[in-house]
């Protein structure tokens, strides 16, 4: 356990020296997003393919209030968490009553619902043009408009989010969610209202997605329509799977890989989603289990210990 924490702290300190602080911040933001998804995907076994719903909704609501009502940074964040959780409660309520393929399709379809609302409601969201002009209000005299202070803020929130998720995952709730993933029927039989617990996972995942959405809006100063679109939903699933959904830290690694990939390639070619699609296909056909599992398989081969 300890060595992961040290590695992460080191990464947090070193990253803005190696990359532009804005990109470094984007990595941590996407990692928060991934942590939220992985509670559903890795821990509860629910493939939610509509997380952008909560990410984008929080971004729009907080963005609107930041822009037009000048609310502060922490109220914006709190609001984002709330909107993310509330929208997840709504969507989750409809989705947890179905399972398997139906569940996946429903999360996608409801994502489309929110997307089209955002697309059409141009007076509020700006439609295709997005919602620009989102400020980064100062806090206690600290000016967040500079990249480095904002980076520190984001990375601190990331570490906080990671700590919270770690507590949740190690709590009885974390165990119950994993039990649901392992054997839903037995979990119900031993006394857990499985639908309620799935909904709880949804809401927590939504809260994390919402936080990420607000931080994203403030990072780029704009909420693009894509933030609530299915490609964003797909990206976070990809990042989580490539990092490895079987561990707490998988989404973080996945975020590194994904953001680095997308930032470097997207500037080169407008058709870069094609390469993204190719990357997805290659990962699926050849690199299942992700980086974390490949790493742990390497270590257990080295030390011949049973896999944990």
């Amino acid at each position: 356990m300890k060595k992961e924490t040290l590695l992460l702290l080191a990464a947090v300190f070193v990253l803005p020296l190696v990359l532009r602080p804005a990109i470094a911040a984007e990595i941590w933001i996407f990692a928060i997003f991934g942590l939220g998804l992985n509670l559903l995907l890795g821990y509860t076994g629910l493939l939610s393919f509509g997380q952008a719903t909560f990410f984008g909704s929080a971004a729009y609501v907080a963005g609107w209030l930041l822009k037009h009502y000048g609310i502060g940074v922490f109220p914006a964040l709190g609001l984002g968490v709330f909107v993310g959780a509330a929208s997840a409660a709504l969507v989750g309520y409809l989705c947890v009553q179905r399972s398997g393929l139906y569940f996946i399709m429903l999360t996608f379809a409801l994502n489309q619902l929110f997307y089209f609302v955002a697309y059409q409601w141009t007076s509020v969201t700006g439609g295709e043009d997005g919602m620009p002009g989102i400020p980064r209000p100062a806090f206690l005299g600290i000016d967040f408009t500079e990249p480095l202070p904002y980076y520190v803020f984001v990375s601190a929130l990331f570490l906080l989010s990671l700590w919270i998720m770690k507590r949740i995952v190690e709590s009885p709730l974390g165990r119950i969610l994993q039990a649901i993933r392992e054997n839903e029927v037995r979990a119900e039989a031993v006394g857990y209202d499985v639908a309620r617990f799935k909904l709880a996972a949804f809401v927590i995942g939504g809260a994390f997605s919402g936080a990420a959405g607000v931080l994203y809006a403030m990072l780029f100063g704009i909420v693009p329509l894509e933030a609530i679109g299915f490609v964003t939903s797909g990206n976070v699933v990809f990042a989580t799977l490539i990092g490895g959904s079987g561990s707490l830290y998988g989404p973080i690694i996945g975020s590194f890989v994904f953001i680095w990939l997308s930032e470097s390639v997207s500037t080169l070619w407008a058709r870069w989603p094609l390469l993204l699609g190719v990357a997805f296909v290659i990962v699926v056909l050849f690199f299942r289990g992700g980086v974390v599992e490949a790493w742990s398989r390497f270590w257990s081969w080295r030390s011949s210990k049973p896999k944990t």
Partner: protein, 285 residues
Amino acid sequence: MSLLAGQILNGIATGMLYALMGLGLSLITGILNIPNFAHGALFAIGAYLLATVAVTIGNFWIALLVAPIGVALLGLAIEYVGIRRLYAAGHDYQLLFTFGLALILSESIILIWGPVGYSHLPPDILRGGVDLGFTFYPKYRLFVMAAAGVLVLATWLFLEKTRYGAIMRAGIENKEMVSLLGIDIHRLFTVAFALGAYLAGIAGALTAPIRGLSPGMGVDMLGIAFVVVALGGLGNLLGAIGAGLLIGVAQAVVAAYWTEASTVVIYAVMAAVLLVRPQGLFGIR
């Protein structure tokens, strides 16, 4: 009044296309048990192929015949090269694969045909309208209703009345049983995927003269196909038709009064139905 009547007819036409999409997706998802996120892209390719072939050889009808077959062949290739390897992989990876495929296909469309949408006119014989008494209605849309109806009927006949169709329906219910009965389950999967792709392709081909072509048309249709399946039930033929028509008509009627909300309505109807009946319109609890 005639506006409403016209819209309802429009709704039936698009509803039939939605039903075709839902049917194809339902077959693939029901038999192969994978989430096919590339289904919308197959639809789009069907449309683009139709437009290209029709323009190149100057004959709409041959294009209408050929384009869906092209999509079916593409489906065969996809199943053979990729999906076949993923049956044991779990939904996460299957989803990512088909999603990646969707990206590849839609970006390829932009590469080949450009990012800007364009329209494609129906063949001369189907241009113009017909006087139905209460309204003057485009001939092409009547053709679409008829063509889609024929296709749905043909699919129904295939599934209900032929031996292989029965095997497919059995495959939706119980794959192990089907393979235990000595039927080549892999061939079943391939046929199902190709058939589903064909249905998506022809839905796209039929749509081109109505809605025009744009690279994003696949994604919009994907969501709608999912709604049809969620409401109608996997592998449920009648469910797909019923759900398709329901949302097609709902969308068209709303469009008459509040255009912006017309797409959202589809999803809103889905959410409303699922609130009351989580198992969908025709699902069993």
